[in-house]
């Protein structure tokens, strides 16, 4: 589903490059974890995959299409859940989703049915008319995910989807992601919650200083590095020094 070749990126005025020759390949139909300490280059990589940031060098092929030349096609195939709650707080969740759906070309009852379908899955159907600003943190996170699902993306990319949510909401999100993947959709997922990543991801790629450090099947990597779990593996690879 994703092929990243020799990806380089240095932001203007930045002292250090964010990505320096990153190479990753994720196969289709899996849940892949893109992990790394702060400043490793995760967000830059996702931003390049989505077309928000242009790479200095290298190639990114998403679901068979090159980001440089087929960005609009890629955008139709992917759904992105940003780390921030990218919804209008004054509007109700229904109004927010209706606007996003219309921008994706969905109309009428098809759009309405899809909105209520996902609102029900995420337990928000009774709060459809409630303003986002009156939602709890967990409700906002769930609404944020729905906005990326309305156009039924083949690949779902989530940046810290469970940051700051309660256990119940996190379980609901995790269960949904497993179900969505079971339906044949691919998922790329970033998180600092490594226990959660271990539970969810078939494969993980750990990057640091803009380079790939290790990549493989989650359980195989843990055992091959004689680690107790993913967090242990992560610390062994990236060290214990605090990153800013």
């Amino acid at each position: 589903m994703l092929q990243i070749n020799n990806l380089h990126k240095t932001y203007k005025h930045a002292l250090e490059p964010s990505l320096q020759g990153l190479n990753i390949q994720f196969s289709t139909g899996i849940i892949a974890g893109l992990l790394g300490p702060n400043g490793a280059g995760k967000t830059t990589t996702i931003s390049i995959i989505c077309g928000l940031v242009a790479p200095d060098n290298g190639d990114v092929v998403v679901l068979g299409d090159n980001v440089r030349t087929e960005l609009d096609i890629i955008k139709r195939k992917i759904g992105v859940v940003p780390q921030s709650i990218a919804l209008y707080p004054q509007l109700s969740v229904f109004e927010n989703l209706q606007y996003v759906g219309k921008l994706y070309g969905l109309e009428g009852t098809e759009l309405k049915d899809k909105i209520y379908h996902y609102l029900k899955i995420f337990g928000l159907d009774n709060n459809a008319k409630k303003s986002i600003k009156n939602f709890s943190g967990g409700m906002k996170r769930r609404a944020n995910i729905i906005a990326a699902l309305l156009h039924e993306p083949v690949l779902l990319i989530l940046d810290e989807p469970t940051a700051g949510v309660d256990v119940q909401s996190r379980n609901m999100i995790m269960d949904f992601l497993k179900m969505y993947n079971a339906q044949g959709h691919s998922i790329i997922y970033t998180s600092h919650l490594l226990e959660e990543a271990q539970e969810l991801c078939d494969e993980v790629a750990i990057i640091d200083n803009g380079k790939l450090v290790v990549h493989g099947n989650t359980e195989d990597l843990i055992s091959s590095h004689h680690a107790n779990n993913l967090e242990d593996l992560f610390l062994k690879i990236t060290g214990t020094k605090v990153r800013d």
């Binding site: 932001y11 203007k12 989505c50 077309g51 928000l52 940031v53 242009a54 609009d72 096609i73 955008k75 139709r76 992105v80 940003p82 780390q83 921030s84 709650i85 990218a86 919804l87 209008y88 707080p89 004054q90 509007l91 109004e95 606007y99 996003v100 219309k102 921008l103 994706y104 070309g105 109309e107 303003s131 906005a147």
Partner: protein, 438 residues
């Protein structure tokens, strides 16, 4: 074709979304629509007085007559006859003198004090006698009036409150100049008549000078260069309402810039950019909405000039005779203001940076653009600087339509200048945005 339909659908969806956001913000909505109307009405009322050049205001003038002669009496009559001045000769039952006048004016209790010096009438009569004798001798008039050497230093003293504005001083000095010149001329002519009607001359040749009528031989009347039944050129509403309406309209940059920064901060912009299709569809939808809000706001302010200001004793606004041209002008002005809002919202990273800069820049652009004071009275350099303010061109076009009988085709060149401003604002915003995402 399908792509075009999708594009239109996205634009409509964005307009509906902006409407929803707008309606949900009741406080913002009322501020955006009501505050400019309040501003326009208040500024029109406040600026009405100076705009009328003090014509309808009655001033108390401290008056000290140390002369008690013919000229002082005539001046006092002339001042008293005008509705503009009320002569005050005593304060607290005490007759005024030079020192009291200076003191009261200096303390700001009165704005003007006039002291007629002792011997003024005698000096003016002597001067008139000299002139009459000179002219009389040249035309062979029989009489000769008594005369002596002139004694300089008989000036009328005028005291102004130190806080009085220059324009106010000028209007008072002009009035005083007019009255003294008239009195001197009357006196000179009556003296000349006296030399000609002396005892030695034939009574049938008596010269009867009807001075009042003679002085009115050449009158001055303000005439309108445009064919309109409304005397709009000289009323303050006609200048103030469009000026402050344009000023208020430009404040639409505040919600635009605020929303843009808010969308960037809360990630909504990122989501919009992740959606396939051109982001320009969404941007166009947003711009269209704000342009229409600006047009609505502009017309509401003009309607306040038409229907509200007459209730405050001001004349109703005359909106010209080119409604289509006015609508197009309102759209272009609103579009220019909106594009400036996009620029501010793009260049600045936070609302704390953008909103003060946006507000203050509008005040500066309005000051140099002739919203506060007419550009014509500014120094040459500032008059040239006014051309860099879109508010100047906006006001100029409205003046063309309301005061100069401007037509649709006549305003097109100036409208294209405003569109040029918009183009520059968008280009700069585009460059900044591109650099930011590198």
């Amino acid at each position: 074709m399908q792509k075009k339909a999708a594009s239109v659908s996205r634009i409509i969806a964005t307009i509906i979304n902006e409407c929803r956001l707008f309606v949900k913000d009741i406080a913002g909505l009322s501020l955006l629509l009501l505050m400019p109307i309040v501003l326009t009405v208040i500024m029109a009322l406040i600026q009405d007085a100076p705009f009328r050049e003090y014509q309808n205001i009655r001033f108390d003038v401290l008056w000290v007559d140390n002369d008690h002669g013919q000229l002082a009496k005539k001046l006092q009559e002339d001042f008293s006859q005008t509705k503009q001045f009320h002569l005050v000769t005593s304060v607290d039952d005490k007759a005024l003198d030079d020192a009291a006048v200076k003191d009261l004016v200096q303390k700001g209790k009165y704005q003007i004090g006039i002291v007629i010096p002792n011997g003024l009438s005698a000096e003016v009569i002597n001067s008139a006698n000299q002139i009459a004798n000179d002219i009389g001798s040249k035309i062979g008039a029989p009489g000769k009036l008594p005369q002596r050497e002139s004694r300089p230093g008989n000036d009328i003293q005028v005291y102004f409150d130190p806080a009085a504005k220059q324009t106010f001083k000028l209007s008072i000095m002009n009035a005083l100049e007019k009255f003294t010149t008239k009195s001197e001329a009357e006196l000179t002519l009556s003296r000349l008549a006296k030399t000609m009607n002396s005892q030695d001359s034939n009574p049938n040749d008596s010269v009867n000078i009807d001075l009042q009528n003679r002085l009115r031989a050449v009158g001055i009347r303000e005439a309108s260069p445009v064919n309109t039944s409304v005397s709009s050129a000289t009323n303050s509403v006609q200048h103030n309402v469009p000026a402050w309406a344009i000023f208020g309209l430009f404040f639409i940059i505040i919600p635009i810039a605020g929303n843009m920064i808010g969308e960037r901060e809360d990630g909504s912009l990122t989501r919009l950019k992740l959606i396939p299709g051109s982001y320009f569809d969404i941007l166009f939808g947003k711009l269209f909405f704000y342009v229409m809000v600006g047009v609505l706001q502009f017309y509401l302010m003009l309607q306040a000039g038409v229907y509200l200001l007459p209730h405050f004793g001001l004349p109703a606004l005359y909106m010209g005779h080119a409604p289509v041209a006015l609508l197009l002008t309102a759209i272009v002005i609103s579009f220019t203001a909106t594009s400036y809002g996009v620029l501010i919202g793009t260049v600045f990273q936070t609302a704390n940076q953008a909103l003060p800069f946006g507000s203050i820049s509008i005040v500066i652009l309005s000051a140099i653009g002739g919203i506060w004071v007419p550009v014509q009275i500014l120094p040459y350099a500032l008059q040239q600087l006014a051309k860099v303010s879109p508010l100047h061109w906006a006001l100029d076009i409205i003046n063309d339509l309301f005061l100069r009988n401007g037509s649709f085709y006549g305003i097109l060149p100036k409208l294209s200048i405003l569109l040029g401003f918009s183009a520059v604002f968008f280009i700069i915003a585009g460059i900044v945005e591109k650099r930011r995402t590198r």
